[in-house]
Amino acid sequence: MSGHDHTHDHDHDAHEPLVIEDEAGNIEGQILADALQTLLVERGLIAPGEVRREIERIESPGVHLGAKIVARAWVDDAYRERLLKDGKSAAAELGIGVGEAQLIVVENDAETHNLVCCTLCSCYPRSILGQPPAWYISKAYRARAVREPRAVLEEFGLAVPDDVRLLVHDSNADMRYLVLPRRPEGGEGLSEDQLAALVTRDCMIGVSVVAPVA
């Protein structure tokens, strides 16, 4: 990085963990997006209304889909085995379409904890968890999760004991990853739907675990 001076750039230092647009930046973004959309519609490359419909399509997936998969795996061992073998087919069994090439489900247990990140950009299982959270796409998470994952997890309030093996998955290419969290203590009497309600996004990324049922 030496050799030339980024004197004009010192307001944005190299360690800025997350660039967030201010109000003016968001208006500029809106103007750019509108201009681009108008041009593409004028060129006949996108039909009027198509962007709106696509937005509706990408808005609909969310954490509930991942949670449904997890809860089924908790109550049905045979399903769990199919899920770990082929995530995409097992999701399809529940009517959940995985748009990405393959879904690899990684299972937490007493000896193993899994954490998912993407160092090169922001690969994320969008078709079952929706859009990634802002911190997932931050420079700080992308840079540090592969090098000091235990320190990163501590910042999320999760201390992984030293005798638990930590697996960090850098989703850098065609696979996408979903963490199958451990079933919480105390949830024995709960229905599948009640279990699904306990599963959070962060548990399926691996920065959290499912809280015990009181």
Binding site: T119, E148, L167, V168, D170, N172, A173
Partner: protein
Amino acid sequence: MKPRFDAGDRVSVLELGKAGHIRTPFYVRHKSGVVLRRCGAFLNPEDLSVGNVGGPVVPLYRVGFAMTDLWDEYRGSPADMLCIELYDHWLTPAAPEGAG
């Protein structure tokens, strides 16, 4: 292209010196790890990035690296592992662990 490696094989990551869009991060280059599984074959992102969708497809593997092999000062369990996907042309066979 048939996959050259299978689960359990030790591999080293090459430094191909390629400019442009590549999906092999710097931090695994010249490092050795173990193939965890085959992932199928996919169009090479290096081709896709310049609009070449004509193939060929390249085998993709998940490879596991000991964290302590990646980072000198790693804090954690010696069993901690980094798992990442690597395309066939970035890999070369590595000597078994302990064989130098």
